[in-house]
Symmetry: C2
């Protein structure tokens, strides 16, 4: 079975959910988050990180939207894992999203587990974690909460919104919901709606979590258990979909782990098995199982067309936002055909849009990895947008 270590401290996990290693905004009960489920949720808490400096015109803010298992720790050491930030290849001084030029904000999404309100947060009515009593949320709810955060921070307009995968869904939702607040949008490796196959993969992951007796109907915090095995299986399966056949072949092929011949057993004979088990076991150390259910569900529900009479283009008609849509040749989770559908909708809406398909064998995860072509595209797009916006050129 998955080699999960026993170092996870549930108390630490709960503390991070309520009192994270990040700035937070706690909205009073009178400022609830209106959810698509028809609920006014309160009290809402949003945790976020910022990098760089907001200029006096308040015109250089870049909102970074994180993916399913990401969080607000874009370019700082992660408080739970101790690892470096998840987008250090893209964001930082001199990077494509240059923190010497832009003021980067990344909030933890609603439903997450790193300090924004989610199922691991304490329900003030009971004093215990919300668990499955937390309302089911959507991508639009995430974006609405981010807009509340920006209001609170006094940022009316974003220079850019950028993100990949679920982050890219948020980018599209931002541009649809708040076109006047988004000057430039960078949806990467994403889609206007989650496909049947992607819903299916998510459902398997959720079933793996819920099949674990330690999940306890979502009340594992209260009962002192943790559905490690189920969440590890979910992560292992999902991780395959983030890579590509070619990348797995290049990295592992059929090589055996620490030996030359098969063991004729169910040990992790192959390197790829050992790698996947590690992916599963390390994930459960940092991520909340219920958050995994909520965030996968939000992705499944995402369907921009449904809000606009089945026509995505209607969501962007007359939009002032300029778009740069990016996909990766080997991404089979959000293939280029999905990106082309976004571009077609934007074209039909008369939007200003550029499109780039990056050639790589790294699969969906390419947006997180060292892809020089990606960085060139992003920095070039932002450079052009910055000129159009009248932002001062970069130092030097």
């Amino acid at each position: 079975m998955a080699e999960v270590s026993a170092t996870l401290d549930l108390a630490d996990r709960k503390r991070e959910a309520d009192h994270p290693h990040s700035p937070v905004v706690r909205f009073p009960a009178g400022e609830p988050l209106r959810l698509d489920a028809g609920i006014d949720f309160s009290p809402l808490q949003i945790a976020y990180q910022t990098y760089g400096t907001l200029n006096v015109e308040r015109s250089n803010a870049v909102l970074v939207c994180h993916a399913l298992t990401g969080d607000q720790h874009v370019v700082n050491r992660h408080p739970v894992t101790g690892k470096s930030g998840w987008w250090e290849t893209m964001v930082g001084p001199g990077r494509a999203i240059d923190t010497e030029r832009y003021f980067v904000i990344c909030p933890n999404v609603v439903g997450g587990c790193m300090g924004s309100s989610g199922p691991a947060s304490t329900n003030p009515a009971t004093g215990t974690p919300w668990g499955l009593d937390f309302p089911v949320i959507t991508v639009r709810d995430m974006v609405r909460a981010q807009a509340m955060l920006l209001d609170h921070l006094g940022i009316d307009s974003l220079f850019a919104v950028a993100g990949g995968s679920l982050g890219g869904m948020q980018v599209l939702q931002w541009a649809a919901s708040y076109p006047e607040r988004v000057f430039a949008a960078l949806p990467i490796a994403t889609s206007t709606r989650h496909s049947a196959q992607n819903i299916a993969f998510h459902e398997v992951g959720r079933q793996a979590v819920m099949a674990d007796p330690d999940w306890r109907g979502g009340r594992y915090f209260a009962e002192g258990t943790n559905p490690r095995r189920g969440l590890a299986v979910a992560r292992m399966g999902a991780h395959i979909t983030y890579l590509s056949d070619a990348a797995l072949h290049r990295k592992f092929g059929r090589r055996f782990q620490d030996r030359d011949n098969p063991t004729f057993s169910f040990d992790a004979d192959f390197q790829v098995e050992s790698y996947l088990r590690h992916q599963g076991s390390s994930f459960v150390e940092r991520f909340d199982a219920n958050s995994y259910l909520y965030l996968t569900r939000a992705m499944d529900y995402f369907d921009l067309a449904a809000d606009y009479d089945g026509v995505v283009a209607k969501g962007f008609r007359g939009t002032p936002t300029r778009f740069c849509v990016i996909s990766f040749t080997s991404d089979w989770l959000f293939p280029t055909s999905e990106a082309r559908a976004i571009v077609q909708a934007l074209n039909a809406a008369g939007a200003r849009v550029s499109f780039a398909e990056v050639t790589t064998d790294k699969g969906h995860d390419a947006f997180l990895l060292d892809e020089p072509e990606l960085f060139t595209i992003v920095s070039g797009f932002l450079e052009g947008a910055a000129r159009a916006r009248g932002l001062k050129p970069a130092r030097g």
Copy 2:
């Protein structure tokens, strides 16, 4: 969680493993199966079905090799599920593999759970099911056991061997191990070695089974439990890989199940979720969890080149067998590139080989489905081979 019913009777399951609704051959202790793991396994039992009539020349036998979750019940009502056979589209009177002309034999593979020796069979030394004490087996072991069965039945030479997926691996192994016994070979939707991605998917399935506390280290029969949830999760994940993105989109899209709007819950909102849950729950009614571990492992270990100094072609040099290699455009588990590699190896070996890629959006499972182009190719290939073999033409 997966909606599994409680109708599975473990006693029935055990009975089917030892005393199946099929003819069986029980080999005496003096005729063990020599396994790749270096073990002489005995007593070996092989369960099989036959259809049609062996001609007096004993020259019209067609061996059908079943896939991972198939069994010997090719065209008869299944004794456990009551459903029709798994290849009724292909095999039967007047079908591409015409039982009015050919004598079709399908054995349950070693490691299976429908009457051939496997982990659910009784270990005579203990009187309880083998469980994980059953030796890990390979595709070559399966084929070696089938050769023993054919020896027992007095069939020296097969007119044809046909199968898809794991069945196709057996076809290739048959042609490599016993070239003089195989006149024609039909490997469908298969490969000469399991890819890293496919090993990865299998490993997730095994982890799902082994993570289920009811698996009990493989001793669930003895302990009166059944790892239903784990096996259902494994099946759900695997099932996605048998289909295609396009097929899932066509069949289900993003349609809701029995409603028009999302429930904002973790119920099976989408039709594709409901369908997958059904696939999981029905599978556990008929299949043994340990067999799933053993048969996925056998597929992972399959690597024809490894037996021939890394060069598949060496395994077929001078082969008298004629081959028809078939793949499906939308099969991403065993994509056409794998079929081309088989064809290239056969060409390099100087073999007689034809190749067809069937255009379909049905994915890997297309070999089991109603694909007229597939049937035309198979019947045409067999017709030509029958003439070459001097088989009498079909009646009428």
